[in-house]
Amino acid sequence: MAPRLQLQSLLETITPRVYFQPPTNITIEYPCIIYERSSSKSEHADNTAYRYTKRYQVTAIDRNPDGPLHDKLAVLPLSDFDRFFTADGLNHDVFNIFF
């Protein structure tokens, strides 16, 4: 299974509503996780990129500011909490996850 699909499966254990780079014409239900590719990290050896890891920006969105998504995402390996903000009455927790 491709790493991205593994991440999808992992996030679906946190909430069934997981969207990867969703198009604007779909209806998003909350609480949910929306994630997208953000960057990558390469380590070089032998004059080439020896190891390469993709980074995803994972956003947990919940009407409940005390919802469980934040805590579950925060304990994932390679997870780093970036910021929190509210918009349209929704609470957003943004994480960066290497996977």
């Binding site: 050896a45 020896y50 890891t53 390679l78 780093d80």
Partner: protein, 292 residues
């Protein structure tokens, strides 16, 4: 007389990069047979030392300046290392998957390649092959750290000291460098076939004398297939080494003269290797294994 010019087109040279690391383990006679690819090589820092001046004074003047011997040392950094390097890092492997530390450290040889660039060709202008002899790795720390939000592989590092080997006509050395932009393509191909192996011929590290003979004179190719290959007589379990000009035979790492060898007995295995003498190079094959 011509006027000096600086930074002409094609003369803006620089060096960069490191790759094609190969580890060589010496046999009981000090020949660096059996090369192993060293993956994940990130840095080789050459650190020569010594050559320190010791001024001597007499007659109220600086009378002479004695200079101490120069030594070659290096630091190797890599994400991983060949399994065969374990014996050079004080680790014995009595059984597959079992490693015992704090054992004696075996010497090793190393080769690696660095790029030569210029303003016209970029880093494809050429490269240097660095050959290191008589290397001994010092114990080094391995910092295993928790996985965190920034994935990083452990960078292993080894401090290496060297014992020089003899070079005809020169002082003993532990380092030899071959510049691809200065030698002929044919000779470069020959040395790379030796360093990296070829079809049927294992990678090995030639000693400086052999390298010099390769570049200063013409080498004779010896095809080790057919009549030049060892023969094994199954009914008598006798290995016969043919006399081949330019070849030194070894069985299980020990020099052998051509001719019929003592018959193998139950459970014995004979690992026969052919080694090119200076001025010769082997093609086709260079090792054979016979079991009782």
């Amino acid at each position: 007389m011509t006027v000096l010019q600086w930074d002409q087109v094609g003369e803006r040279l620089y060096e960069t990069g490191v790759d094609h690391g190969v580890l060589y383990i010496p046999d009981s006679l000090g020949d660096y047979i059996n090369g192993y690819a060293w993956n994940g090589l990130t840095t080789v820092t050459e650190s020569p030392s010594g050559a320190e001046s010791s001024p001597q004074y007499a007659d109220n003047i600086k009378y002479l300046n004695l200079v101490s011997a120069e030594e070659f040392g290096a630091t190797i950094e890599a994400f991983t290392y060949p399994e065969e390097f374990a014996q050079c890092d004080g680790t014995a492997i009595p059984e597959a998957g079992i490693a015992i530390g704090q054992q004696s450290r075996k010497q090793f040889g190393l080769s690696y390649r660095t790029q030569i660039g210029n303003d016209l060709d970029g880093t494809d202008h050429g490269y240097k092959l660095h050959l290191i002899y008589g290397a001994t790795a010092a114990p080094s720390e391995k910092a295993y750290a928790t996985i965190n939000d920034s994935p990083e592989a452990i960078a292993f590092s080894w401090e290496v000291t060297t014992t020089p080997v003899g070079v005809p006509g020169f002082k003993p050395t532990a380092q030899l460098v071959i510049d691809s932009t200065k030698v002929t393509a044919a000779r470069l191909s020959d040395i790379e076939d030796i360093l990296y192996g070829d079809v049927g011929v294992d990678a090995r590290l030639p000693l400086p004398a052999e390298v010099l003979s390769l570049f200063t004179g013409s080498t004779v190719a010896v095809n080790m297939v057919g009549a030049n290959a060892p023969a094994y007589d199954d009914p008598t379990d006798v290995v016969t080494l043919p006399p081949v000009t330019g070849v030194q035979w070894k069985i299980n790492g020990v020099n052998k003269a051509p001719g019929a060898q003592p018959a193998l007995t139950a459970g014995q295995t004979s690992y026969v290797t052919a080694h090119a003498l200076p001025g010769y190079r082997l093609t086709g094959d260079d090792d054979w294994t016979y079991a009782f």
